[in-house]
């Protein structure tokens, strides 16, 4: 799966870079981040799902190159019950209109059941995840409460707080397990990924 994105953040690149290194800020900004451990490599546990798949995923980010506060290249591994991702990610931050423009691209090898949902669907889920996480981060940078999501879908799912193992098996049908698709969880996943990678890199450089 190949993914790209461009986002505007309401702070200068240096502040964005620093925010991504801030565990507390990140934890607040990413609603589905259940645990975060300092690295390197930085490791996070998030609740995440796409289509009928979902559960708890562990993320690990290693930074291979960094040019603070302008660019970073990361290797990210995501593992969960339904498979995982192995992704090469490159992100760039540039000053733009008083804030920061973050552009990123990722090439992800997908494994397990995650590889069966279709690349367009997976890509759409990941793209939306990044969008929502960075919306939350933008809100945090703006000094606003990061909790209310920009698009309104995050709250319901992310707030469901159900443990992953309670999400019934696929055969349970569409009306069990509340928040099957859990887009918010997905948002958390990718947003956290980006954040974690950048933060992990920062931490590593200190």
């Amino acid at each position: 799966v190949r993914l790209t994105g461009t986002h505007e953040l309401p702070a200068a690149p240096a502040r964005v870079w620093a925010a991504l290194a801030d565990d507390a800020l990140l934890a607040a900004a990413v609603p589905d981040c259940r645990e975060a451990s300092s690295g390197p490599p930085r490791e996070l546990t998030v609740t995440w799902g796409v289509a009928a798949l979902g559960g708890v995923y562990r993320l690990r980010a290693d930074v291979s190159e960094a040019d603070p506060p302008a660019a970073a290249t990361l290797h990210v591994v995501v593992e969960g019950e339904d498979g995982g991702l192995d992704a090469a990610v490159h992100a760039e931050l540039s000053a733009h209109d008083g804030g920061t423009r973050l552009t990123w691209q990722a090439d992800a090898q997908v494994t397990g059941a995650l590889a069966t949902v279709g690349s367009q669907l997976l890509a759409a889920a990941l793209q939306r995840a990044v969008q929502r996480s960075l919306d939350a981060l933008a809100a945090a940078l703006d000094g606003a409460d990061p909790a209310p999501p920009a698009t309104g879908h995050v709250e319901a799912a992310g707030a469901s707080g159900e443990p992953a193992r309670d999400w019934g098996p696929l055969a349970d049908g569409p009306h069990t397990g509340g928040g099957r698709i859990l887009l918010a969880a997905l948002a958390g996943a990718l947003g956290t990924l980006l954040a974690a990678w950048l933060a992990g890199r920062l931490r590593g450089r200190r």
Binding site: A51, V117, G118, Q120, L121, A124, R128, A171, P174, I181
Partner: protein, 794 residues
């Protein structure tokens, strides 16, 4: 119990089950399966520039969405060209999912899998596909003009050009005392089975095997095609055609994209997956037929004898040609019908358009052929002022000319040689049946009441029972149950009845003991399929041969047991007995026991076959070296070439002077398919065929607009005749056996539909005194013809 013999019109054995609603059609299976729905192109021709599934993410119960980019390996390649032909120089077949360009409305772009069909459809609604429209190519004129191309690398939109010539047509036409030129066309229609397509697949991850159920006419070939596409050994794949609610040709096409994608998804997801086509899909996403326009030049003498016939026609093959050139080849080779043509040349262009692909629909090119030939013969009669019957009589091939070599190469690549038939006798019979000679009186009486009547006649010859082969397996269990297997599938033909009649007759067993299984690769792995009116000829013959093997073996074993000569034995009502001494007998089920020497006595019958019970000959092994255990036999029937059935239809119509509505007052069919296994079933086939013939003549068409949108893609707008529109069919039969097959059988499945447009056009033309050159004919079109003739004003 009675032994039902070949030739009796017994009731269909499958009907009680079907009428009680106990049929198991595709959608009755797989209640635990995930459901599939497809995102299909709304454009006739467009470039797909993007697929955005974001909005579908929120659909609860969504499992997967696939596009072309998700397809692995051979699923990325175009679907197969099923029947290659040297003349098919620019074959194009579709991809399973659109790769870049869609070329007809309904072409699949993305596949959605969800927990049920409602959810899948909801997700389909939320998938946004970005299209860049390209110019549509609709209709034969646009295709031939080729100002717009369907495939950019196919100049002129020409998939194929093919010519056959017997004799020197130009010389014949130049020398002919009379010549005529005609333009004749038939519109598109479609098979439109009551049950549309459907595929259901189960992947067994434990043993790595795939089971496919498909509403198909060719399960054996689906099995091999899917195995090849998925890179599986054929041995790991089984395909079963369950009860199939009609096919009429559309389901001989395979593998459909859906037929490949559903098993692929089942394997990928490790879950049963099912797709049941809905009616709206079927109209645009399945295949059509019939659209052809023909230019005829004919030369003839003063008696109406045809000296030279030159036909050029254009065949609309739609966006792709997955089934090759079969339809126009059949038109080419069946056009001469029962007539002896001095010289014949036929050439066609098969042209791409941005409409649904074309594959055979019951009749498969023959309704067009019959329409062209019969309108031509009527035109000759009109030109000469001679009786239509007399002109036909002057041209009919005589029985003593059989076998008659047309000099053409048929759809199976073999010579089109009429093996048998008595065309003059058929003509006499149909004229009697319709009361041809009395019609002038009838017409005059009607005219006195201000009513317009017309009478028409149309004749055809139909190549049936094409090869390469079918097989049959007959197995007698120790209970006396007789299992019969053949590979081709059933879509309502009554195979469970007629094949059982053949076996009951050949083997001498009660028909109640005979159980027929068709279309299941687990039971019989070698088969071709059910099409071209071939099942009775091909599988019927193979099953008869297999039953004869079983009979011979049964007699041999019984001869040992009864200490008699096999030549002196007969099998009656499931008992082998000495002719003339019926008390010296052994039940066939006991023979089955004896055929299989056993060590273990699992029941009473088995007990009789164990090693201390059977008489032992210490000098011989229990199974002789050249023998096999069990009372069963398998054989195949592979004909030298097709056998040719024939028939003639006549009808009387009344045309309403005010509304231009056409009403069929009488419809007579004389039909010769050789010996009838079951006359009731043959008549049923004829009745159904006539219904579709009437449909093609007066009602059904595919109303594509200039943009390539199918404007009548529903049963509200696509007119299918009800019982009220289908006349009572009066039938007469000849039974001229084919010398090619062991039972003398010829096919009966398609015959009823073939002359529909020809005979009704002839009758309307007779009633109206107008030339009818295009079918179907709606009241509106008849009104316009009247206007053109100055008879009415618009």
């Amino acid at each position: 119990m009675t032994t039902r013999l070949f030739g009796e019109g017994i009731a269909r054995r499958e009907d009680p089950r079907l009428l009680r609603g106990e049929g198991r059609y595709l959608d009755d299976l797989g209640s635990d399966a995930l459901a599939v729905a497809f995102v299909r192109s709304p454009h006739a021709h467009a470039r797909v520039t993007g697929v955005d599934v974001t909005a579908a993410l929120d659909v609860d119960g969504l499992v997967a969405i696939y596009t072309y980019d998700d397809l692995p390996g051979r699923l990325r390649e175009p679907l197969p060209l099923l029947i290659p032909h040297p003349a098919l120089t620019a074959p194009r077949t579709p991809h399973c999912l659109a790769r870049d360009v869609v070329r007809h409305v309904g072409e699949p772009v993305a596949m959605v899998v969800a927990t049920d069909r409602y959810v899948a459809e909801d997700a389909v609604d939320r998938v946004a596909v970005a299209y860049e429209p390209l110019p549509p190519v609709v209709g034969l004129d646009a295709a031939a003009a080729a100002q717009r191309l369907v495939h950019p690398d196919v100049p002129g939109n020409v998939a194929a050009t093919f010519l056959q010539e017997v004799g020197d047509v130009e010389a014949a036409l130049a020398d002919a005392p009379h010549t005529l030129e005609l333009e004749l066309a038939i519109e598109r229609s479609a098979s439109t089975p009551l049950e549309a397509r459907g595929v259901y697949a189960r992947w067994d991850g434990d043993d790595g095997s795939l089971r496919i159920y498909s509403s198909t006419q060719a399960p054996t070939s689906v099995r091999f095609a899917v195995a090849a596409k998925l890179g599986l050994p054929a041995e790991r794949v089984e395909c079963i055609a369950p009860d199939v609610g009609g096919g009429f040709g559309v389901k001989i096409m395979h593998p459909w994209a859906e037929e490949v994608l559903v098993p692929w998804a089942a394997r990928l997801l490790g879950r049963p997956v099912k797709w049941t086509e809905d009616r709206a899909e079927h109209f645009v996403a399945a295949t059509h037929e019939r659209g052809q326009s023909h230019a005829v030049r004919v030369g003839f003498d003063g008696e109406g004898r045809i000296l030279g016939l030159d036909v050029r026609f254009r065949h609309d093959n739609g966006a792709y040609v997955p089934y090759g050139l079969i339809v126009p080849i059949i038109t080419s080779t069946q056009l001469p019908g029962p007539y002896r043509l001095g010289a014949y040349r036929v050439a066609f262009d098969s042209l791409y358009t941005t409409t649904a692909p074309v594959t055979p629909y019951r009749g498969a090119g023959r309704p067009q052929a019959c329409f062209v030939m019969e309108r031509t013969v009527d035109a000759i009669a009109a030109h000469l002022g001679r009786d239509r019957v007399a002109v036909r009589t002057a041209n009919l091939i005589q029985p003593e000319e059989m076998p008659y070599d047309t000099g053409l190469i048929f759809q199976d690549g073999r010579p089109a040689i009429y093996d048998s038939g008595d065309f003059p006798a058929t003509l006499v019979k149909v004229l009697e049946l319709i009361g041809w000679d009395d019609f002038p009186r009838l017409r005059a009486e009607a005219a006195a009441e201000g009513r317009r009547l017309g009478i028409g006649l149309a004749c055809y010859v139909e190549g049936t029972g094409v090869g390469p082969y079918e097989g049959g397996h007959v197995h007698v269990e120790t209970s006396g149950r007789v299992n019969v297997y053949t590979g081709l599938s059933t879509q309502g033909q009554g195979h469970a009845t007629v094949f059982a009649q053949i076996v009951a007759t050949e083997l001498g067993v009660p028909i109640e003991d005979v159980h027929v299984t068709t279309g299941d690769t687990r039971r019989f792995p070698y088969a071709v399929g059910t099409f071209a009116s071939r099942a009775a000829v091909m599988s019927g013959s193979a099953i008869a041969l297999a039953a004869r093997i079983v009979r011979a073996k049964a007699l041999r074993i019984a001869a040992d047991a009864l200490e008699a000569s096999a030549d002196d034995l007969e099998i009656v009502d499931g008992t082998v007995r000495v002719k003339g001494s019926p008390e010296v007998a052994i039940p066939l089920k006991t023979v089955a026991v004896l055929s299989n020497p056993l060590r273990y006595a699992f029941d009473e019958a088995a007990r009789a076959a164990t090693q201390f019970t059977l008489p032992a000959d210490a000098e011989r092994p229990p199974i002789a070296e050249d023998d096999e255990p069990g009372l069963e036999g398998r054989d195949y029937y592979s004909p030298l070439r097709s056998t040719f059935a024939n028939g003639m239809h006549a009808c009387i119509v009344e045309t309403d002077p005010e509304t231009a509505e056409v009403r069929i007052l009488r419809y007579a069919v004389v039909h010769d398919c050789g010996p009838m296994i079951n006359p009731t079933i043959v008549e049923g086939q004829i009745h159904g065929g006539v219904a579709q013939g009437v449909a093609g003549a007066l009602y059904e068409r595919m109303a594509y607009d200039a943009e390539g949108q199918l404007a009548n893609a529903s049963f509200m707008d696509f007119l299918m005749p009800y019982a009220t529109e289908v006349p009572r069919v009066e039938t007469g039969h000849l039974e001229t056996p084919s010398p090619l097959s062991p039972l003398g059988l010829k096919g009966a499945g398609e015959a009823g539909v073939i002359p529909g447009s020809a005979v009704i056009a002839a009758a309307v033309a007779d009633a109206e005194g107008l030339e009818i050159t295009r079918m179907p004919l709606s009241p509106d079109e008849l009104h316009r013809l009247r206007c053109d003739a100055g008879e009415e004003t618009p």
